[in-house]
Every structure is written in C-alpha cells, then in structure tokens.
C-alpha cells in the first residue's frame, strides 16, 4: 500500500523551471516538484528525509550513497531525481520499518563491521544485492561486489565476516 507524501520545494527554486516527479520510495508514493538538476542523492536526503543516503564524494567512488533503483544498485549522486519518475527506490530506511534489523544489518553489528558508520548504508545495500543474486558468495566474489564501496575505518576484514554471517542467516531463514 502506498502512503502519499507530497513535496513542494518551489519556494527554494524561485523562478527556475521545475518538473513534477512521482515515484515510490521504500513503498511510499512521493510526488515532488523539483529542479531537473537536483541530484537523486540530495533529493532523497533533503526532500524525502532519508539520511541513510550518505554523501561522501559526489563523483561515484566512495559508494556511501548507494541505493536501489528499480532493483539495480546505483550511486545516487550520479543520477538526477528527475530521471526516477515512475521508479521504485529502496534505501536502508526501507529495510527496518519497526526498528528491527534485517539479517545483513544484524550481521554487520555482530561482526563489528562498522566503526564511524558513514559508509555503512552503502555497504548494506551492496551486500543485500550481492546475496540476493548469489546466496553463498566466495571471498573473491565479495571482493568484486564490495569494490564499489570504500570503508576508511574497518580495513574490510570484519565486513567480509559480516557478509558471510549474513549469508548464513539468510540461508537459515
């Protein structure tokens, strides 16, 4: 079921042209009047209040803004919100409506796979996508998939552990 949320930020846009977009974000319908140049990452953070979408580089390297658009992982700093009209978007907020953790989040906690946490949303999204396609990934496959994300704190050792723990949890579910 869609809950409708309407955003009007035309005040901020003054006389610059805007376009209406309508999309589903974490199963909520969102319509908004936006400038075409608005990055998807900024739109999700500032207009839809989804702070899990973290901005670390805005040039597609760090992966902190990684989300799912129509089932594909994308770096949301490299898309404009206007492109997602009619799309379905999923962010970390959509994984845990009631505050409980999904298996990937749980595994990251248990394996101490986060320190400052700024990269964590991106890693969770990447890990979920990996495990959806490949429930029992090898270390090499984890290396490849997670090479789109940078973590500056953990040295990745515990992230590998977390991915493997998450895979086990999901298998047992």
């Amino acid at each position: 079921m869609y809950i409708s949320m309407s955003i009007n930020n035309s005040d901020a846009n003054r006389d610059r042209p805007t376009q209406e977009v309508s999309l589903a974000v974490n199963d909520e319908e969102v319509t908004a009047d936006i400038e075409p140049r608005l990055k998807l990452s900024d739109f999700l953070r500032n207009d839809v209040d989804l702070n899990s979408v973290r901005i670390g580089c805005e040039h597609g390297v760090c992966g902190a803004c990684t989300i799912s658009v129509d089932g594909d992982l994308v770096k949301s700093c490299m898309m404009y919100a206007v492109q997602t009209d009619g799309s379905e978007i999923e962010t970390v907020e959509g994984l845990s409506d009631d505050g409980s953790l999904d298996p990937v989040q749980e595994a990251f906690h248990e394996e101490h796979a986060l320190q400052c946490g700024f990269c964590t949303s991106g890693f969770i999204m990447s890990t979920r996508a990996l495990l959806q396609d490949n429930p029992d990934p090898s270390r090499e496959e984890i290396t490849e998939q997670l090479s789109s994300n940078i973590c500056r704190c953990t040295g990745y050792q515990n992230i590998y552990e977390a991915v493997e723990t998450a895979a086990e949890k999901m298998e047992n579910d």
Binding site: D11, A12, R14, E35, R37, L38, D42, R45, N46, L50, N51, S52, R54, I55, G56, C57, E58, H59, V61, C62, A64, T91, V92, E93, L95, S96, G99, L101, Q105, F108, H109, E110, H112, L114, Q115, C116, G117, F118, C119, T120, S121, I124, I142, T143, E144, L146, S147, N149, I150, C151, R152, C153, T154, G155, Y156, Q157, N158, I159, Y160
Partner: protein, 817 residues
C-alpha cells in the same frame, strides 16, 4: 617496577553480558543500531528550520595578490542572502590563531592567496545549488606570484610566502642526546641516506560540516560541527570571532563519520558559518564541504617529509648512534599540529637500545594547503625512515635484517625503559614479539605456503619476487598536553623549568542519576567511530555495579566542558578508564552521603552496593531512582558526580625530566610486530601484499572487539599510505590529486587477509593496565611494508626510499638491475 609479562589473548568474543564485569569483554557496540537503520544524525543531517547554506569561492592560484573581488553581480541577485570577502571579515573579526607566532591567517584570504583552494569569499543562499550559481557570478582579479611547492627549494627563501615572517622556515630545532659525535667517530661504519614520505591524509568518508546560529539576544553562538578536540581547539573559533570562550558553544554530534585527526583543523569553517549567521541576525547557516574542496584545499593534508638519516654501527651489528634530520612541508600556514615534528621523540629509537641520537627538523612553508593531524601524528614517517636505514646497515654487513634488529632490541629487563629523549616505555618484551611473529610466519614456508621455497623460486623465475620482513614498532600512547606548546614557548628557559610549572590537562567526566535510575554519563570528548559510548558504558557499569543498559551516554559542548585534550594521541582507553573509575567512586560517595542524610545516620552506617545504597545493618535500602527523587527535593546536589582524572604520567616521577623540558610525554608503549608477505612484479613494479601477519599488544584490552577493529583499520590505512595514497603538487603549486580517482583509497581489492594475534602486557602506569592503541597500524604499517618490499627485492639491492612505493617508483629501482 618491572615489565609485566605478556599473556596470549583468546580473541573469541564472550557475548554474555550478564557476567559480573563488562570491561575486557567484546561488548557489542551501542552506537551501531542507529547507524545501521539510517537513524544516526551526522553533521550533514542537521538542518534547523530556516537554515541557509553557505559556499566558498576558492582560488585556483597557488600564489597571487588579490587585486579586486567584484561580487556586485552576486550580491544584487535576488537569490543572494549574503556575500562576505576577506576585506569584509577583517573589519569585524580577527585572524585565525596560528600554530606559531608571527603570521596572520584570515579565514578568507584578504590581500594574497597562498594555496590552491584557499577561500576568498563566502556566499549564503537558500540552498547549495543556488550558492554555487552565485559563486560563479563573483569575479576575482589576481596578480599572480611565483609559487614554491618544493620544501627543499622553499627553505632557501628565494620566494617568501609571508613577508611579515620573512622566512619560509618559521620553526626548527635540534636535539642532541648522548655523545653523538663520539658514537659516529668510533663506530666501525656509518651510512647516510635520504627518504621521502609523500603528503597523505586520513580522508574520512564524511567531509567537514558546520551549522552555526548566532543569538542576538544573548550575543552568543551555537555551533554544531564535526570538529575533533572541540574542548581543546575551541579557541581557534572564539578568538577568530572575537568572543569569549563562554559565548561560543561548539557542539559535536554523537556520530562523526571518521576523522583520524584530520578534523582538528575545521575552525575556518566554524568561524565563517558563525560570521555569516552573525551578519544575518542569527539565521542559521550551514556549510558542508564537498569532496573536491576537502582533497584540494580543506586544510587537511598531513606529514610531507624529506629525511636525511645517518646510522653508525659496528661490524657486529650494534647500532652506536642515529642522526635523524628532516624537513616537513607544512603548506601555507603552520596550524595547530606543528608539534607533529616533535612526537617522534617519544619513540625516538623505536624498539632499539641506542643512547646517542641527534634529531633535527625544519618546519617549512610552501604554497600548498595547510597540514593538519593524521593518525600517527608524525611518527609514521619517522619509523619508516628509521627501519629503512636499519635495513641498509644490515645489508651493508651482509647480515640478515632479522638478526641485525634482534641484536639491538631493548630487553624486557630494561623496562621501564627511558629513551635518550626522556620518554619512557612502560612495559613489553620486544624480542619475544619479534621471535613470535617469525614463528607465526614459519607455517608459510611449508609446502604450499606463500613462502614455500619452491613456489618462491618458481614465482621469481616469472619476475614475481616475494619477501617478508619482521619488524617491531612502538606506538606511543596517551599524550600529555603540557609539552604540546613547546614551539610557542621560550625554549631556552626550559632547562631550568620547575616541575610545578607543568600544566597537564585532566580528563573530565560527569554523570547524573535520572528519575528512573538511569545514570547518564557525559563525555567531554568527541567521538568519530572509536566506540567511546560503548567503552564508557562498560567501564562505568563495572564501577557502579550496574548493567550497561542502565547507563546513557551524552556529550558536553565546549562551554559546558572544561578545556581538556580529548580523543587524540591514543588517549581515550586510558583516560576514560581512569576517569570512569574516579567518577564511579565519587558518585557512590555522593549517593552514600545523600542516603545517610535521608536516614539521618553517619555515612559509616551506609554502603553503596550494586547500584543502590543500603544500611549496613540491612534494615533499609534506597534505589537510584529513590535517591534521585530525594535529591531533587534537596536541589539536585548529590545524585550526580563530576571527576577530573589526572594524566597518569604526572604520578610517575621518572617522567619529570621530560615534563619540565617539554619533551613529548607518552606513558604507554603499545607495540606490534608485523610481517607482511609481499610479492613484487618487477616488470610492472606492482606490489601485492599477499597476507599480513601482525602481533599486537596494547596492554589490557578494555574491549577486544574494538581493539581488533582499530588494529585492522589502522593497518588498512598503513597499506594505503605505503602503496597508494599521495597528494602531489606540480612545480607551479597545482594539486594533482583532487578527486578519489587520483587520491587512491584502499578498497577490498587492495587489502589482504590479515592474521592478527594479540598479547596483553599491562601498563604499570595506568589504572586498568590498558595502553593507547588508536593509531596502531597506521604508525607501523608503512614501515613494515616498505621493509618487506626491501626483502623481496634484496637480490637487486633495493631499499625503498620513497613512500608511497608506487609501481613507477619500484620500476625506477629495478629497471637497471
């Protein structure tokens, strides 16, 4: 006092939380849940109502006079809320405090720009997109000047950056410990070499951010910022604004997306956002640094050194003396961490027993962005240069570097060991560590292992050279504060200084008991991923005999908190544990007083026990929530406590010599023995770390999970520094790495499997036996990786003399062999 013996540690984590004590257990972090669910509030997420956004116009010139800033088009634009230039702020505010006297640095360049990325104007509007539109409307006319980007050229003063200073070398010093001349004259051999350490930095995933609000009624400022050491460096903000400390509250969010020392120098951003809000009658102003700003001109690069090192040694491999000289390129302004050039004195000879050491530095200014602190605080290049020259000496004697090192190690019976530079290593068995790491790697020499001789030979025939080195490194922990202003002191007077003049900063901790019995503890430090909230809960739960879940952790802003050092220099494990112990006792005493008063008995008739106060005769008991209620009726005096934990070295007379002379005081010596196994492709120069073995000892581990995380993360940064990361500048002062396509952060593809073992040699100087270990692998990783490359390329007589060891540089070594 004798060095305590190391005991091996079972790294398996005990998940039970209902045991008697929590400290020392791998208690799960309390920080995680909000982060994992996207609910953590980092500075980027804080946007008060009516908040405006600020952006900065940054110069693209490395060195130029500002002729004119024409901001009329921007100011007249209907979307523009404010433009300020260097001239504007000079009218109302002060220059930013520098790390050395004699230089004025304005938060917006006033007459001259000194590095690419230096802010020239600020613009405020409704959102960042509009701000950047307006920045494009500002025209700045420059007269370009010759830029100097090579520190060795800069020190000749042909082009002087700051005319008021008259030199590009605002600070230098020379220390001679022991009889250096004799050592070099008498030794059988002397070798000299140069080593270069490229400009690197922490590059946390979260860039700087600030939200500032001016309150016209009270004439005060509220500033939220992810600044590090907010209670220590708040002067850089309030002095710039021209206000008193009490009028400028700096507040750091509980979640900061990494700092590693780099965010110590965010005062420019704090001050500018505050000035903007001030000029706009208190409307909140937010600034978020973007990644290019951060990499190019974000005042966050760190050590950038050229070393000239001499070593004197006898034919039997005994090191007789060391002579360590270096130039450190601080960029355009000497900032707060000018004392990064001094910290290596705290580990002057690393794990070696050497009496005669000369140490000198020159701090040089160039047209580059200013240095800040980075994990290791200048020790990392020191250990790299030292271990490299040790390799050269060993090769010169045709000795196995393992044996050469072995023969010079400080022995366990020498503990505590006073360095020539007067700092003291508290405990540790370095020979055992070196032997143990070699033993761990031995299995790789068996059939099928990475160092199986047959495989090594096969690989070598294909141009792939494998090698491993065994090095022991000391991580100085728990810095004192008094020595840190040495370069701003009258150095000649230090020899006669009185011990009583030493002014250390304690660690402040306070707490209060809530109506429901919850104990809220307030940290005066800021955190950026180290798990301080978890550690504080563990420690205080043990002190108070309650559960961690009955404790909440909050943070104090810079006005509420006293001036204190905070989370830097691997301090918090030791300082927080000392403070928690004192705080627990104080709160228990206060609650006993309160109960005794309530029951109208002597305090000797009551006792605090497991979270409540009981009559010793067992007749009555008051819970924490009852005590809080009683206290509320008395005006909230006793259901709370406050404690200042004194720096542990102040109690140890042996440190007095270092204290009075303002030599770096670091009373804990965590240590690590590393053995990276590397493979070098000699045709392409590519280096792969196949596996990294590390044995680490940080004394008593307060939380082994967090210790392990710090070790792994530090080593990963060490790998980045050794092989990938660098901020080069061209001759005209243009930065070459301003994106993450060029400043290469290690990803999963660059970090090998790490096999880490821990031992525990408690510190005799600290309350819990813990030693600081926040910097760890970043300090010892680069040196150990460089020496492993040396071993791999031993057939070609290569000693890596530049960090990072890029493929191009490796080819430069091997192509003519």
């Amino acid at each position: 006092m004798s060095g305590s013996k190391a005991s091996p540690v079972d790294t398996e984590i005990d998940e039970e939380t209902n045991e008697e004590t929590f400290t020392g257990k791998g208690l799960d972090r309390v920080e995680d849940h909000r982060i994992l669910t996207g609910r953590a509030e980092y500075i980027h997420d804080i946007t008060p109502e009516d908040c405006l956004e600020m952006g900065l116009l940054r110069t693209t010139h490395a060195h130029a006079e500002i002729v004119e800033v024409d901001a009329v088009a921007a100011e007249e634009h209907p979307d523009c809320d404010l433009v300020l230039t260097g001239e504007d702020i000079a009218e109302h505010y002060n220059p930013m405090p520098c790390g050395l006297p004699g230089i004025s640095e304005w938060s917006l360049a006033k007459d001259r720009v000194h590095f690419v990325g230096e802010p020239v104007a600020l613009v405020v509007a409704s959102d960042r997109y509009v701000v950047e539109d307006l920045i494009d409307l500002i025209d700045v006319e420059y007269d370009t000047l010759e830029a100097v980007s090579d520190p060795l050229v800069a020190r000749t003063d042909d082009t002087v950056l700051h005319e008021e200073l008259g030199t590009n070398v605002p600070d230098d010093d020379e220390f001679v410990f022991g009889d250096v001349s004799d050592a070099f004259d008498e030794a059988d051999n002397v070798i000299e070499n140069q080593y270069s350490w490229g400009r690197i930095s922490g590059v946390p995933l979260e860039t700087a951010g600030v939200v500032a609000s001016y309150d016209a009624e009270t004439d005060t400022f509220d500033i939220d910022c992810n600044i590090q050491l907010h209670t220590l460096v708040d002067d850089t903000v309030y002095e710039t604004l021209g206000y008193d400390a009490d009028d400028v509250a700096l507040n750091v969010p509980p979640d900061v997306g990494g700092s590693f020392g780099t965010k110590i120098a965010l005062h420019r951003y704090c001050a500018l956002a505050a000035m903007a809000s001030h000029q706009l009658d208190g409307q909140p102003v937010k600034y978020v640094e973007d990644r290019i700003e951060n990499l190019q001109g974000g005042d966050m690069h760190s050590s950038d050194r050229e070393y000239l090192v001499r070593i004197a040694y006898d034919d039997d491999g005994t090191i007789r003396g060391l002579d360590i000289n270096f130039v450190d390129d601080y960029g355009a302004y000497p900032r707060y961490p000018v004392n990064q050039v001094l910290k290596p004195l705290s580990v002057l000879t690393n794990a070696y027993d050497v009496d005669a050491v000369r140490y000198s530095y020159e701090l040089v200014l160039t047209n580059k962005t200013s240095q800040t602190a980075y994990r290791g605080f200048g020790v990392d290049p020191h250990l790299y240069a030292l271990e490299s020259v040790v390799d050269e000496a060993a090769y010169d004697l045709s000795m196995d570097p393992y044996d050469f090192r072995w023969g010079n190690l400080i022995q366990p019976e020498q503990m505590p060991y006073k360095l020539p530079s007067k700092n003291i290593y508290d405990s540790g068995d370095f020979p055992e560590a070196q032997a143990r790491i070699k033993e761990l790697v031995e299995e790789e020499r068996t059939e099928g292992g990475l160092l199986d001789p047959e495989i090594v030979e096969q690989r070598r025939e294909n141009g792939k050279y494998r090698g491993v080195s065994y090095t022991v490194h000391i991580e100085p922990g728990v810095s004192g504060a008094d020595w840190t202003d040495r370069q701003r002191s009258d150095r000649d007077a230090l020899d006669d200084r009185d011990r009583a003049d030493v002014d250390e900063l304690p660690e402040h901790l306070r707490c209060e008991v809530g109506d429901d019995g919850t104990v809220t503890v307030y940290l005066a430090t800021d955190s950026s991923g180290q798990g301080h909230q978890t550690i504080a809960k563990q420690l205080l739960a043990d002190e108070l005999g309650i559960l961690p879940s009955e404790i909440e952790v909050e943070y104090l802003d810079s006005v509420e908190a006293p001036t204190e050092y905070g989370s830097a220099a691997s301090r918090m494990a030791v300082m927080l544990s000392g403070a928690a112990q004192g705080l627990g006792e104080t709160l228990a005493d206060n609650l006993e007083l309160l109960a005794a008063d309530h029951w109208n008995v002597e305090t000797s008739a009551v006792a605090y026990q497991d979270g409540a106060v009981e009559m010793i005769d067992g007749n009555d008991r008051l819970t924490r929530s009852e005590l809080a209620e009683i206290d509320a009726n008395f005006g909230d005096r006793l259901a709370q406590a406050s404690y200042n934990y004194q720096h542990p070295a102040t109690d140890v007379a042996a440190f007095d010599e270092a204290f009075v002379r303002k030599y770096p005081v670091y009373p804990t010596a965590a240590f690590a023995a590393n053995a990276p196994i590397v493979e070098v492709d000699i045709e392409t120069g590519e280096v792969e770390i196949l596996k990294l073995y590390s044995l680490r000892d940080c004394g008593t581990q307060l939380n082994p999970t967090i210790v392990e995380g710090q070790a792994q993360g530090g080593l990963a940064q060490g790998i980045g520094a050794a092989l990938l990361e660098e901020f080069p500048y061209d001759e005209s002062g243009q930065p070459q790495a301003v994106t993450l396509f060029d400043y290469l952060l290690p990803s999963t593809k660059n970090i090998p499997e790490m096999q880490i073992e821990h031992s525990e040699t408690p510190s005799p100087f600290t309350e819990t036996g813990a030693k600081g270990t926040g910097e760890g692998g970043m300090i010892d990783g680069p040196a150990s990786i460089a020496t492993a490359i040396n071993r791999a390329l031993e057939p070609m007589d290569v000693v890596v003399d530049r960090i990072p060891a890029t493929p191009n540089r490796i080819r430069d070594y091997v192509r003519d062999e």
